[in-house]
Symmetry: C2
Subunit: 266 residues, 2 copies
């Protein structure tokens, strides 16, 4: 297989990840397919984390949970392997990133449970094609990812702030963007906040968003909109000093076989 710069088909993109030919962001890839955030946790933290997701469905909408010890997906991408099929991973110990990896073959164990959580890249393509183009896509970038001052509902071992993605639209587009994205309940739904970033504790004077992406730069007449983001578990890992957790690298998502149409139905 030859490396490509753009993929339409999730199976081909996942194979490229597996073969070391795609290590970039998945923003803008495989339009029409649902992308997912990844969190992998030891069995003894799995109940607390699943409860955290249930209590915080906006940042953590559960698409699939793997059986303990089994790295293979069965629902959203049958046959996909969590250990190899993402472009890049992060390993956390005691809440801190100890390494970034391109596969999990050496660190996977029989004790681990994988959680796939919906990603807002899913509706980004729909926004673009519905007449709501976004500045970050024009730049070939993912939206800015910021830590907000919204506290998630705690669950057992897990507590911490909600991470959000930021997009700006002109005032006359806001209603349609809100209605359209609200249909995507499994990929964060509608915005959690509309308006002044400082109300969420976000300072746009800091040039780089904490978890990457294209900095929010509202133009005159544009309103900032903030959606809950599946990077939240990474901020929660830090805040809660979670003993061990593996995630995707922000922006470097798992691309599933679910189509946008399938997820809208749910």
């Amino acid at each position: 297989m030859t490396a490509a710069s753009h993929y339409d088909d999730p199976k081909t993109l996942r194979a490229a990840c597996r073969q070391g030919q795609w290590r970039n962001s998945t923003s803008g890839q495989c339009s029409g397919y649902v992308q997912a955030n990844l969190a992998i946790l030891p069995r003894d933290l799995a109940f607390d984390f699943l409860l955290f997701c249930n209590r915080n469905p906006r940042p953590c909408p559960v698409l699939e949970v793997t059986d303990p010890g089994d790295p293979m997906l069965r629902e959203i991408a049958p046959g996909a392997d969590l250990r190899t099929d993402l472009p890049a991973y992060r390993v956390f110990r005691d809440g801190e990133i100890i390494e970034e990896r391109t596969d999990l073959l050496d660190v996977w164990s029989e004790d681990l449970v994988g959680f796939l959580l919906g990603c807002s890249y899913t509706f980004d393509a729909v926004l673009d094609s519905s007449g709501f183009p976004q500045a970050h896509h024009a730049e070939g970038r993912e939206p800015g990812i910021y830590v907000s001052n919204i506290a998630c509902k705690p669950a057992g071992r897990f507590k911490g702030p909600m991470v959000v993605t930021a997009r700006a639209f002109s005032g006359d587009k806001v209603t349609e963007v809100v209605v359209l994205t609200s249909r995507f309940r499994k990929t964060h739904g509608g915005p959690v906040y509309v308006g002044d970033p400082s109300a969420l504790g976000i300072d746009l004077a800091i040039p780089e968003p904490e978890y990457g992406g294209f900095p929010l730069q509202p133009e005159a007449g544009q309103v900032p909109l903030f959606w809950a983001c599946g990077v939240t578990p990474q901020a929660v890992a830090r805040a809660s000093r979670v003993p061990f957790m593996i995630t995707h690298k922000p922006g470097h998502m798992f691309v599933s076989d679910l189509t946008v149409d399938e997820v809208i139905r749910d």
Copy 2:
């Protein structure tokens, strides 16, 4: 407090349960408030059960999960006590009912986790008041509760059949009933099946539904509709020989402080 035959307010009904003055079905009580099924499990089965609920959201829509050892609710009825605030309970060992109780004061332990799951009684009152009256309500009964041949998606220790409630409406009402109940995602949503009961393995010639309620008796021109039911965990406990589980007695629900309007928003 004097015993009443009808309650409008959930707090008053729960107090009546606590004081031994209400041991009947909650069908038709506290119109406009959300009713909930109960499942209580030991901590070491809690992850498997929460995953079962996540994989089977139609029969098992999660309204609240308590922290391990804590019998008090915080979200859907702050201050309510799972040990006393339902009219009647069932205790299961190895999947079989070993006793029915009117409180859990002697059996509660620090190891237990409570799961509250939405109940279709919530939309029964809305159907009645929206011009879709139901035969079972005219009789002062709850809808018939049947074990179907639909297999739930398994999760760890839990597998088994989906339990359903049955209602019949004339053919010209079906669309409106489907659309209306589909809005109640947290209380089972729209029907899982419309039509011939035998397709679900349900034999109407058997006079009493397995889990009680008013037997389905479609009149000429009426179509049977089947909704997923929160008694499913009880059938799953039996099928999976779950070591220990406590539930409500079918029809004898937890009545929450959530209003129908609040749950429609979700």
